[in-house]
Amino acid sequence: MLRGNRFTLITSTFNLQPNIMEVLKIATAGSVDDGKSTLIGRILYDTKSLTTDKLEAIETRSKANGFDYLDFSLATDGLVAEREQGITIDVAHIYFSTAKKSYIIADTPGHIEYTRNMVTGASTSQASIILVDARNGVIEQTYRHFFINNLLRIKDIVVAVNKMDLVDFSEEKFNAIKAEFEKMVANSNYKEQNITFVPISALKGDNVVGGSANTPWYKGNSILEHLEKLDAQAVYEQGQARFPVQTVVRPKSDEFHDFRGYAGKLYGNDLAVGDEVTVLPSLTKSKIKEIYFFNEKFDKASRGSSINVTLEDNINVSRGDMIVKTGEEPSVQKQLTAKVCWMDSKNLVGGTKYLLQHGVNRVQAIITGVDNVLAPDFSGSEDSDDLSLNQIGEVNIKLAKPVFYDKYAENKTNGSFILIDPQTNHTAGVGFIQ
């Protein structure tokens, strides 16, 4: 029994204090040697986020490697294999904060064989930094990085033109790269994307956290100044309220004998007490009776909150069901078409069975066919019967039971799924519903 213990007594005033800040998740993409790890290290250093012991460790390693400068990339390259090869091979998460925001950087590797990690990092991010080497300009990798950011519909992209110190901080060079990048953007059909170009030197610190005396011709913000101005909440996906039920809370205690709460995380628009709702798949109708967060009742909850909801009517709801506002029902289908990014060494081919996990809901799925492979440079698609590791293509899937989905463009969470290989239990791919 929780009643009477000190935890339940002191929570009568649940308010967010100013010390719980806005959280902004950022993905980074760049090719080998574009200086991505150096950029992150520089951000950590200039925001005074590196602690003395971490700084000492970097100094020791830099000296041992024979550098006469601080190799900030050592702050993020975590695994032994990476330090040996000098490359980043998995997603690492890096944390820092300013007075305004908490930041989480998903440091994703840029080489061609690790597309899956980039997609993974970008899937939880609201903004993205793409690095371009000022000496090389837009290269094949840049197309791929932008393509993935585009596929995942990352709202805000910073194109960091790095190593400006090696091209004499040339405005012409910067403008040429910008023009080339914008040509690529013209091929994208996601027009709401905000793209900001910043000339930087991660090694020297120009326009990373503060400004730069070397680029008097650049009137825009530094990378951090730009990120500070972003509204983390506003860059989340919009769309109608979706409340997938994770678990049914039935305490069966004396005090809460008949309590039956539906616990889950809310996506899309607000949900409020009194809202007329429909439960999927049964299509049963009811009204929101109460919205609990822990032991406190609220009239309204917004997206991203992990709440516990009760309904006016005693109806049968279980894990995997979805509560939505009546009149705002999503598609309920046993068939879907999606862009799939393949993440497994065993190719995806038609006729094979996978478990499809859509939110918290799992259903048996059979791949009816692979249509094509998308060229990651917006140049179109090629017919194909299978998808190999790191390829992205259009796939048709048949399901044993219907799922309740939106298009990815309308609701990211409710428009995406993963495919689980029933033999290995591995997450083999991710899909974006069309």
């Binding site: 719980i20 390693r61 516990n308």
Partner: protein, 300 residues
């Protein structure tokens, strides 16, 4: 006036993870050390399932070198929650000859915990072990997944981790495998302390400034209250005003000089601090890859 819930994204994420654990696994357990991170986990678990009680037991792997204040606190908390507390002792593994106690100046039982932990998971057939590790603690931890699959030997295969996309967690495993779950992966040390302050969560007294008999070695302050930390004759014991930033095994947890006697003062100190909390953990300093090597062997 309409009362609207404000979202703390880190808290909402942790609650979501807890609810996935109880839904996807048969027999989860919360690894409870008595430290601030596991105490925070307990609060989040309460929030995830209220008004039902926390639906899994707590497991403490006791090195026998814990601060007495932590043990007292642990027992009281479990009793108040009304959940089962399972304690398994490293001493038993030593007595059974399964592990060999380290000796000398830097002797610690910290790495010996792994065997006792794996034995306990096996004994109770736990398929998910929830822990308070955070990605900001250490470089190898920065790559850890939220659902981290371990093989039959408890090993972490860092090169073959499952990608985690959006909020979707894949906890499907084969018989014999288990998953380590880290609901506060994305929290920083400051996030945890701020949360403890905001929620007025009680924590063991050693987290606050107190007078303690201590000695200094390698620029770090060690407890000399009892004989657990090995001390050489020329290492002088002095009473100092200190507090602890983590409460691991006494033999590898150093104190910091502090006059922070209340939670707001501790949070203030953390904000100003330029040494990471693991900087006071000698077990990570053994080599640059110390944590990664221990994790491959099954360390939590």
């Amino acid at each position: 006036m309409s009362k609207e819930l404000s979202v703390n994204p880190l808290e909402a994420e942790a609650i979501h993870i807890f609810r996935e654990v109880v839904s996807q696994f048969e027999k989860p357990v919360l690894l409870f050390s008595g430290g601030k991170d596991s105490i925070t986990l307990v609060r989040l678990a309460q929030k995830a399932f209220w008004p039902a009680k926390v639906p899994f037991p707590l497991l403490h792997v006791d090195t026998g070198h814990n601060f007495p204040e932590t043990i007292e606190f642990r027992d009281r908390l479990a009793k108040e929650l009304g959940v089962e507390l399972i304690v398994r002792n490293v001493q038993d593994a030593i007595d059974a000859g399964k592990v060999k106690e380290e000796t000398g100046k830097y002797a610690s039982r910290n790495s010996l915990q792994t065997v006792t932990l794996l034995d306990a998971l096996e004994e109770f057939k736990f398929d998910a072990a929830i822990g308070g590790a955070r990605r900001d603690e250490e470089k190898a931890r920065a790559k850890e997944r939220i659902f981290s699959v371990r093989d039959d030997f408890g090993q972490w295969d860092e090169k073959n981790q499952r990608p985690e996309l959006f909020d979707m967690l894949n906890g499907k495993i084969d018989l014999g495998q288990n998953v380590r779950v880290f609901p506060i992966s994305n929290w920083t040390e400051l996030d945890v302390w701020s949360y403890i302050e905001k929620e007025e969560i009680e924590i063991p007294s050693i987290y606050f400034a107190h007078k303690r008999k201590t000695f200094v070695r390698d620029g770090m302050i060690w407890s000399a209250e009892d004989d657990i930390v090995y001390r050489e004759e020329d290492e002088v014991v002095e009473e100092r005003l200190v507090r602890f930033r983590t409460v691991g095994d006494m033999s590898c947890t150093a104190a910091v000089l502090s006059d922070a006697v209340s939670i707001d003062k501790v949070v203030g100190e953390i904000r100003e601090s330029t040494i990471s909390e693991r900087g006071a953990r000698i077990d990570d300093k053994r080599s640059e890859a110390a944590m990664e090597t221990r994790k491959q062997q099954g360390y939590f």
